[in-house]
Amino acid sequence: MILCPHCGKENLPVATRCVHCGEDLEDLFRIEGTDPDAGLPEEQDISVSDLLQAFRQEDDSQAEKPRPVISIGKTPEPAASEETQSVTPEGEDEQTPEWLARIRKRALQEEDAAGELSRKINAMEASRAEEHQGRVDEEFANWIARIRENARRENLLAAKPAEPSPESEEGVPEWLRKVRELQPQDAEQDQPSEETIAGFSIEASAQEAEQGDEPALEQSEPAEALAANPQEESEPGAVPELESESAELVLHPDEEASPDARADEEPSEGPKTPELEPVLEELGLTAEVGALDLEEKPSSSEELSADLLLLRKQKENAQMLMTLIGEEGKGLPPAKTAREASKGWYRFILGAFLLLVLAAVIVFVPEARPIKFENPTPAVALKDALNALESGDTVLVVQEYQAATSAEMEQMSAPVLRALEERGVKLQFLTTHPNGLWLSANLMDAADIPAREISYLAGGRLGVLAAALQLDESSAAVPGALENLENYTLILLLEDSQADIQNWIEQAGPWLKAGKLGILASSQNAALLLPYYDAGQLAGYAAGTMEGRVLADALDAPTAGAPSRAYQAGLLVMIAVLLLGMIIKAEADSNARHQKEPEA
């Protein structure tokens, strides 16, 4: 009786499976009264075919040299096979275990002892093959699939370095499993090829073994490549398995050449060599296995690239799907369409409000007329200089502004000129710009003073210097009507340009007495005039319509308000636009924050 290693219950010695638990019984060939492990190295795996081979050896066989061993995937190892040990003649009797000696003795006594045993073994093998063939086929297919995937991954890494992907416990990369899951058709198409590989080689190797050592070695190179490639970069768990199985594919040409040995093998396994029997027995493969498609190569780089592209796309889709899943159940964020709609209304209301305010200011609000507004010191000084003029004094009015600023300049200077004209002050007009020639008529009309000739001083800065020096009365550069600048009581400059102001202050000022230059300028020049006033180079100045208006009031020459209202309207527009720019920017920042918050 034998004990089931799984459940521990007794079974018949001939039972191949435990009658209690159904577990396969490994101790099938145990012989009563013998120690199954006696005389055998623990590391060696003795198969049935080995036993048969040992039985057939004659006691007085001649000593044989150790046959060369050719292993697939490994270099020949002299003592790697059991056969080499079994055929070693020298000292065999001493090393023969006791159980083997008994068997041999019994075989001598009984004619067909070995035949009965062989038939039993064949029957048992057939029964076991039927039970385990499917499972072993599946395992072998998986093993071959891992080899193929490792080879493909190696080519993939060689073609284009990819990011290291996590691997499953089976050694299959994560990305490859995803590809397989996403491409079931391809996986199905790959399956036959895998089966073909599963059926490899054992038969092909056997056939090549019949042709000799070298052809077998040559044909076994693809198998070596299959085994060696994953050995380099594949998982540690897969490589030893491959090595162990490759090492068992050992061919013995001497035995192939022996017709006796072939004749002994034919009844049991047909064309298979006895050396392959252990492998076949372990794998559960029989003669129906197909030939290996040795021409099958790893996928090309283009195919791999296509897989990669698909993988990226699928990753993006997966990421999107994960995002959607992550947002599932959460409350919907504020509808963007609603925000955009409210934003449009918000802008419309804001713009309309600004326009309404602007229109209201222009139409309904009375003009800002400060009652007790006091001009700054330079404007007061200019007022004092103008008030100091008496009848008969001569004032040189230098008109040097452009047409674009003529409205502002006329609004400021017209009341002053009118007041001086009414006071009996002689006004003489001069210009250094051609514009002054045709703008003077408008100024005189605005000031309501009689039209008079305006002199043109050519040469710009040089002309001003020449007019200031005026050493020669017959100078061609200085107009004839222009007297020596020292003869004028006041030189009133109507300026909108800092450069022109500097020309007069810097070229003519040094040659004139202090307090000869007074300026009516546009508002943007106010800041640049103050230093000259503080330095005593100016009698005074007024800049801008506001100061001009106060000055006119001080001279009892009120001004018209229309240009001032337009000026204020323009300022209001600029203020509104500036505020709108700030609001738009703040709104854009707010929208950006709202868009980032859901992502976070």
Partner: protein, 204 residues
């Protein structure tokens, strides 16, 4: 030689004018003569510039280049103004008003466009440059001085507010003084470089 003569002429003229300004009694007559030469040469240079402008636009018209219509308008306006001044004279009131009727809308429109461009720039500066010290200070200062320029706050006649406004209006003086100092130093250095022959802005 080609570069040396202008340098020598410029240096001599600058040195002579500087000396004449100092020795006004002795060199006053010669200074007036030199100034007249300079003014005549500047006027001739202006005529040369006008001639070059006309020739350039004539080439545009002859070659039919893109925008030659504007060249036709420019030359036509120039000829009308030139011939009108020759025939009627610069003292003719009708002529002066006619030129002013053209010049005033043109320049006013140009200034209005400049104001719109600046306003648009003020609108875009926050969007393009974001919130920074520069943009924030620009926005605040622009708003403050625009409001002050309106005159509405001054019309309220509040003493404290008037004082604050007066204080704020004097703030730009800091920048103005810096500008004037820079302009003065730059002009002085340029004059010295011309006198020493280091400034070679002509002919290159």
């Amino acid at each position: 030689m080609r570069k040396t003569i202008p340098i020598v002429v410029a240096a001599l003229a600058a040195g002579f004018v500087l000396a004449a300004l100092i020795l006004r009694q002795q060199l006053g007559g010669w200074l007036d003569l030199v100034l007249n030469w300079a003014i005549i040469i500047a006027s001739a240079a202006l005529l040369v510039a006008v001639a070059a402008l006309i020739l350039t636009h004539l080439r545009h018209i002859i070659r039919g280049q893109r925008g030659f219509i504007y060249s036709i308008i420019l030359i036509s306006a120039f000829l009308v103004s030139f011939v009108g001044a020759l025939v009627l004279g610069l003292d003719n009131t009708a002529y002066l008003r006619w030129v002013a009727a053209i010049q005033l809308p043109l320049e006013t429109s140009l200034l209005g466009l400049a104001a719109l461009v600046m306003t648009g720039a003020a609108l875009q500066i926050f969007r393009s440059r974001g919130w920074s010290l520069l943009t924030i200070s620009f926005g605040i200062s622009a708003l403050v001085f625009l409001v002050i320029s309106l005159g509405l706050l001054q019309a309220l006649n509040i003493p404290l507010l008037t004082t604050i406004i007066a204080y704020l209006q004097r703030l730009p003086l800091i920048g103005a003084r810096g500008l004037l100092i820079g302009i003065g130093i730059g002009a002085l250095m340029t004059g010295l470089r011309v006198m020493l022959g280091l400034e070679k802005g002509w002919g290159e």
